[in-house]
């Protein structure tokens, strides 16, 4: 961890955490709209994939934020864009979503199924919504000289949290793309056309969010570290005496997380464990990791995410091995309990 101001270091980590959690919310809201909403849309969906991985010729697999395979043989790719001010960011995004436009096979469970067309739904925070549609659709797609030329323009939708719900609003720029519902009974294209937006209260997708927990992007390291400490490690530890020594390989842990929640890569686990290592609660062994899991007491801080961030930015002196050694010695020195109470 670079020697920067503690508050700045903690804020940076928390910023990544918050952004990632918002992405989990947004994808969960769309999963709800496409799969469980009491509308005609779920019946038109053959498969919603939250963790798509689409092989691409000559490059790494494509990993958009979600894909939808419709019963009529068409498809949709959803991507949450993190747009920066500089043009390189927009160019890079255009190259990425142009590939999505050309996708002709989409996940259908574990297999891939051919699609006749793929719409690209580009989700951007409200703060950059107008800028995004201008820079992507007007300045690039509509500019004959620009190489960004998908078969149809992407549908740029901005999102915000308004009062007690998320609002997803298709930007009204005339050149902005439209989602093609075709002859399907209902579709989000029609929703945006009729209403301009749709809304989703968290209560509508909280079951999905808690069941899946992650999205297809690399998992934010503090987010995953918090998940591991608050959920995974306690599940592994049960009521064992603390600190509990947990030893594992990150690939095994990632496989377990993928099986239960989906989407987590070995590199995600390694990054989270690096953070826990910086916080002096995990350490590398020859071929894996060792964790000293216990309730962490950080003065004045009850929130585990903040506590881990603070420890990672300003590590305590005591190492994992010394904590585990002290616990082992204490356990060895403890007299055997009497056979009966009295």
């Amino acid at each position: 961890m670079p020697a920067i101001d503690l508050a700045e270091c903690v804020d940076r980590l928390l910023q990544g955490f918050t952004t990632y959690d918002r992405a989990v919310d947004v994808v969960s809201a769309f999963e709800m709209a496409f799969t469980t909403s009491k509308s005609a849309v779920p019946a038109t969906v053959r498969h919603f994939e939250r963790f798509p991985r689409i092989p691409a010729e000559g490059s790494s697999p494509l990993t958009p934020d979600f894909t939808v395979l419709f019963e009529d043989g068409t498809g949709l790719v959803g991507e949450i864009a993190r747009l920066a001010l500089h043009d390189n960011s927009v160019e890079s995004l255009c190259r990425q979503i142009q590939k999505y436009d050309g996708v002709r096979q989409l996940p259908d469970g574990p297999a891939l199924t051919d699609v006749s067309q793929t719409d690209v739904l580009l989700l951007v925070p409200q703060s950059v919504g107008v800028g995004a549609v201008k820079r992507i659709v007007v300045d690039r797609f509509a500019d004959p000289a620009h190489p960004y030329k998908p078969s149809v323009p992407p549908c740029v939708v901005q999102f915000a949290f308004d009062e007690d719900r998320y609002i997803f609003q298709r930007l009204l720029e005339p050149l902005n793309g439209q989602l093609r519902d075709g002859d399907r009974a209902d579709g989000l294209g029609r929703w945006f056309e009729e209403n301009g937006d749709f809304k989703a209260k968290p209560v509508r997708f909280s079951d999905i969010k808690t069941a899946r927990a992650f999205v297809n992007d690399p998992v934010d390291k503090l987010y995953l570290a918090t998940h591991l400490w608050a959920k995974t490690f306690p599940t592994m530890s049960g009521d064992s005496a603390q600190p509990v020594r947990l030893e594992f390989r990150s690939s095994d842990l990632a496989a377990e997380l993928r099986d239960r929640f989906g989407g987590v890569r070995t590199s995600d686990v390694d990054h989270a464990l690096d953070l826990l290592k910086a916080a002096k609660v995990a350490d590398e062994t020859g071929d894996g990791w060792v964790v000293a899991w216990e309730e962490l007491h950080t003065p004045g801080e009850r929130d585990l995410a903040r506590a881990l961030a603070t420890r990672a930015c300003r590590p305590p002196r005591r190492s994992v091995s010394s904590r585990l050694k002290a616990a082992d010695e204490a356990a060895a020195a403890k007299p055997e309990p009497p056979a009966t109470l009295f």
């Binding site: 007690d164 719900r165 959920k231 009295f342």
Partner: protein, 371 residues
């Protein structure tokens, strides 16, 4: 009530400990009360109903009380803890009920007495394997209705928590010929709009006097112990069994959709106030061995709750202003879930702990309007 007022072991305690020392099985709680209660004003039987999750509660409690107890034994299936010596000695006995995992903790010291507070501390230290619970409003109301079948049910004292600020509220009604005390339902109706009833001192005609508590328990003062046992204790056992069934086997399982979640239903609109949400976070984290991780805050709350005592973990969400919804994680014991819901229910004067559908999908119209 002070220790001095009730010193000299009560005959009930003496008999209880004598049975434990000799390992003798007692005929029944009713018989023991019948033979040891003489009707004087110091005779009272305090009962707290608890849920055990895979432990023998007597031994668990004795471990938690280690150092304070002067004896432990079994009177048949009843575990007996003796606390103190000589004239100051008293007992706490753990009585199995007709329902698996549901027990009554029974003593003769008053529930407000420091000696019973110690028992409550041992109970808290026995969590999450041994936990008390809070009666749903409907369970509480049901006791009054059941007692009313036996005679006019009057209330002489009521304590409640004011919903707006959490302060205490107490009312007492003296017995007067021309102005009868309120009935059970009248007393409850009097505070219904602004407070949540925590305890009631009740008189069923001239048949029975007792103290009933939302924090599942009751105290027998005088009258028909048979009626107390059949109506009040049975109601506590049935409510505990329903809670046990609600909170058992709730852990998430791989590849299985969670159809239901557990909701702690609060007074209307309580979490519309941001301060109440802060208070909720403090309440969640204040219990021994419980930690929280805030995943999302403002305007909706999503918290990961970890019970470090047994590894249970939960997602707790406030997405409506009168409800905390709990989605159990891949490890979620009944004890830890009972402890979590009990603590929230007690602190926020919850109406009930209930099963709710895990998902609440919107209609097309709702997606276009309210979300």
């Amino acid at each position: 009530m002070t220790v001095a007022e009730t010193s000299i072991p009560r005959p009930f305690d003496t008999a209880m400990w004598a049975a434990a020392e000799s390992g003798r099985t007692l005929e029944s709680l009713h018989d023991l009360v019948a033979t040891t209660f003489s009707g004087d004003r110091e005779d009272q039987l305090t009962v707290a109903t608890v849920i055990a999750d895979g432990v023998l509660p007597g031994e668990r409690l004795a471990q938690a009380a280690a150092g304070a107890t002067s004896g432990f034994g079994w009177a048949g299936s009843v575990a007996v803890l003796r606390i103190g010596e000589g004239d100051d000695a008293y007992t706490v006995s753990v009585w199995p009920t007709a329902e698996d995992g549901i027990y009554h903790l029974i003593g003769t010291v008053p529930v407000t007495d420091e000696r019973w507070r110690r028992v409550e501390r041992w109970l808290a230290n026995s969590a999450p394997r041994l936990v008390p619970f809070v009666l749903n409003q409907a369970d509480f109301d049901g006791v009054g209705a059941a007692l009313a079948e036996h005679g006019r049910v009057e209330v002489s004292r009521l304590t409640a928590r004011v919903l707006s600020d959490g302060s205490s509220y107490t009312r007492g009604w003296a017995e007067r010929r021309r102005a009868p005390r309120p009935t059970y339902s009248q007393a409850l109706a009097e505070v219904d709009e602004f407070a949540s009833v925590r305890t009631l001192t009740i008189h069923v005609a001239d048949l029975l006097s007792l103290h009933l508590r939302r924090h599942a328990g009751a105290t027998f003062y005088s009258g028909s112990f048979r009626l107390f046992e059949n109506v009040v204790l049975n109601a506590l056992v049935n409510a505990a069994a329903r809670r046990r069934d609600l909170l058992t086997d709730r852990e998430r399982r791989p590849h299985e959709r969670q159809e239901y979640a557990v909701a702690v239903e609060m007074p209307t609109g309580i979490f519309a106030d941001a301060e109440a949400v802060s208070e909720l976070l403090e309440t969640l984290a204040e219990q021994r061995g419980v930690g929280i991780a805030v995943l999302h805050r403002n305007p909706y709350l999503h918290v990961a709750v970890t019970d470090y005592l047994d590894g249970s973990n939960f997602d707790a969400l406030v997405t409506l202003d009168d409800r905390v919804v709990i989605y159990p994680g891949y490890r979620a014991t009944a004890g830890a879930l009972t402890r979590l819901t009990e603590h929230l229910a007690e602190r926020f004067a919850a109406r009930e702990v209930a099963n709710v559908a895990a998902s609440s999908p919107p209609t097309r119209d709702e997606l276009f309007t309210t979300g």
